[in-house]
Point group: C2
Chain length 354, copies 2
Amino acid sequence: MMARKPALAVVGATGAVGAVMLGILSQHADVWGEIRLLASPRSAGRTLTVRGEPTEVRAVTEESLAGADVALFLAPGEVAARWAPVAAGRGTVVVDASPAFRDDPDVPLVVPEINGHAARVRPLGIVASPGCTTLALIVAVGALHAEFGLTELVVSAYQAAGGAGRAGVAALREQLAAVAGTELGTAPGDVRRALGDAAAGPFAAPLALNVVPWSGTLQADGWSSEELRIRAETRRILGLPGLPVAATCVRVPVIGAHSVSVHARFERPVEVARAHEILATSPGVVLYDDPAAAGFPTPADVVGTDPTWVGRVRRAPDDERALELFVCGDNLRKGGALNAAQIAEAVAAELPLD
Amino acid sequence: MMARKPALAVVGATGAVGAVMLGILSQHADVWGEIRLLASPRSAGRTLTVRGEPTEVRAVTEESLAGADVALFLAPGEVAARWAPVAAGRGTVVVDASPAFRDDPDVPLVVPEINGHAARVRPLGIVASPGCTTLALIVAVGALHAEFGLTELVVSAYQAAGGAGRAGVAALREQLAAVAGTELGTAPGDVRRALGDAAAGPFAAPLALNVVPWSGTLQADGWSSEELRIRAETRRILGLPGLPVAATCVRVPVIGAHSVSVHARFERPVEVARAHEILATSPGVVLYDDPAAAGFPTPADVVGTDPTWVGRVRRAPDDERALELFVCGDNLRKGGALNAAQIAEAVAAELPLD
Ligand SMILES: NC(=O)c1ccc[n+]([C@@H]2O[C@H](COP(=O)([O-])OP(=O)(O)OC[C@H]3O[C@@H](n4cnc5c(N)ncnc54)[C@H](OP(=O)(O)O)[C@@H]3O)[C@@H](O)[C@H]2O)c1
Ligand SMILES: NC(=O)c1ccc[n+]([C@@H]2O[C@H](COP(=O)([O-])OP(=O)(O)OC[C@H]3O[C@@H](n4cnc5c(N)ncnc54)[C@H](OP(=O)(O)O)[C@@H]3O)[C@@H](O)[C@H]2O)c1
């Protein structure tokens, strides 16, 4: 018996994650039946192309959501908080890429390579996809955890502007154009003066010719929301509620692809050779670790690709149970659209369609 | 009795560190008697200004070094390895900013705020100044160590192009000009293709719109020389030969000023309030930690300034003995010329001048 194909709504189709999602949906063209593209009222009436078909964008409303089997939410957290329960209440399975439900114990937080089974138990009808920085590291770290037993993580992120959406990329490009060809960068504050306030975009300080040790909003004890999220999300996905995680998030003037310097401590002594074997054979991971030939991932090289790239694998020089890694992943692909698409496809494959 | 003022030779006066040194020597104008500016034969005959006086650059030779009471070496390691023993053999005290002697047990490795006394015992007549990344963090970490007792460091560096000298800055500026105004940065390798091989400069991969997890040369077990240096230098300066240190060095597209994300573990439980007090009152450190008002150091803001700037002070969420910090320091000032000048001035003040 050939069931009908599930209908999909894409909320946030006009955004940065949305644009990548349209590409993925076009490549995986036979998964879905109807595909509806939704966004804010600002975008209603625009035409986007998916699976080669020009498709009109509609505003999110009860009507435009009605009848979708699955809804991908690729929109700000407030939008998901408002509309995901509406869709789920009418039987649509929601896969949400925003932070809105990632802490909710009744919403599974899923990375298919690690805990795909968790998407089957969704009391609210909502499945959450983790944040882009967690997704940059979790597939690699999860593979090592399965072998060695993770006991501690210390991570420092090198976050691309694209993690802040279209506005982040636009601000960085504007800033780079303003400083290119100048001799700026050697006197205190001259980058800041040259850029003025106008071009700050979503960043807490100028990003061109700079790095900014802040992303997200201020939480207790000086932590940023993005840093605490990496901790909370990693614990949930790996099922290690007490895992010590200390994260530092820093924006760097890169368009797409986050990088993370990872110090991971394990229950058992680790060997680099065994870590290499694990990483080389884990789904979703590419090992690229040949420093003698300048072989290590960089964001400019991995942007636009699907996997988590891992290089610079070293055993901590003074601790036989700890590994250092440098991981890179495209924040819009595995870090955003791809992980959500993987969840949605797995969910759709098991839906009882009439 | 008024002694004569000591004569100074500056080897590498034409370089990136040299240029900053000339400024410092002009500000501290009454320390030195004669100042000789030396460099490679390529620069012989050029005129540079120090203390307002046009001064001809000479090639380094036995003659041009002869009679200097102190010689500052601000040149590549090979130059120091060749000429520092020559100068020291004739009674000149050498202060070397290169890596050449930093591992030599007969050469003290000195940061005046921490172990200034060590410069008094110099069996070879040579004192070494640490590398710019160590210097970015060591004054802050040393102050906390004095109070809490350091037991472990995990650091991830965000290294400016300027740490690779004039050639590094020139390569980054050329690369930034090439990508500015383009839409590059979202497809794999398009930055690399746009830049070609020509503009790589001293970096192992393109640096514009990118971060590069490599600096220095390949050592055993996948470590880079810069990473192992941070470990070796930190241990020597703090007098903690067994200190566990895991460092990851990553170049970022910043002109000047290195940043470091520091995870520091201590013997005793730490309080952020007490860490703030220590940092706010330590010589050479500026505490700038007010995230509610976007108060944290960034390289573009601290470049051109002398101190080590510290922000983002947090206690590790799961470890009462660990602190996270984000530190920034100008690699050419405290990270290069300033630390060497401080050592040289302290040495000169105690020289028995006829
Ligand atoms: N960027 C990443 O790397 C990344 C990775 C993982 C997860 N995420 C998460 O994914 C979500 C989207 O991120 P993004 O980077 O794609 O952001 P973005 O580029 O700013 O796009 C936002 C999208 O949400 C839509 N939207 C905004 N307000 C809306 C409203 N009131 N009603 C309906 N739709 C609305 C926008 O539509 P209009 O065009 O009509 O404004 C647009 O399609 C966010 O929750 C983000 O945290 C982002
Ligand atoms: N850049 C930093 O942030 C930093 C910080 C701390 C320490 N250091 C160390 O300081 C030293 C200088 O670094 P830099 O960044 O200033 O490098 P740089 O900009 O490349 O300058 C190198 C200097 O060394 C001179 N030199 C080169 N070959 C020579 C030779 N054969 N004989 C005599 N002089 C020669 C050069 O003279 P010409 O102009 O004649 O070639 C120039 O003055 C290096 O050892 C570096 O590791 C650098």
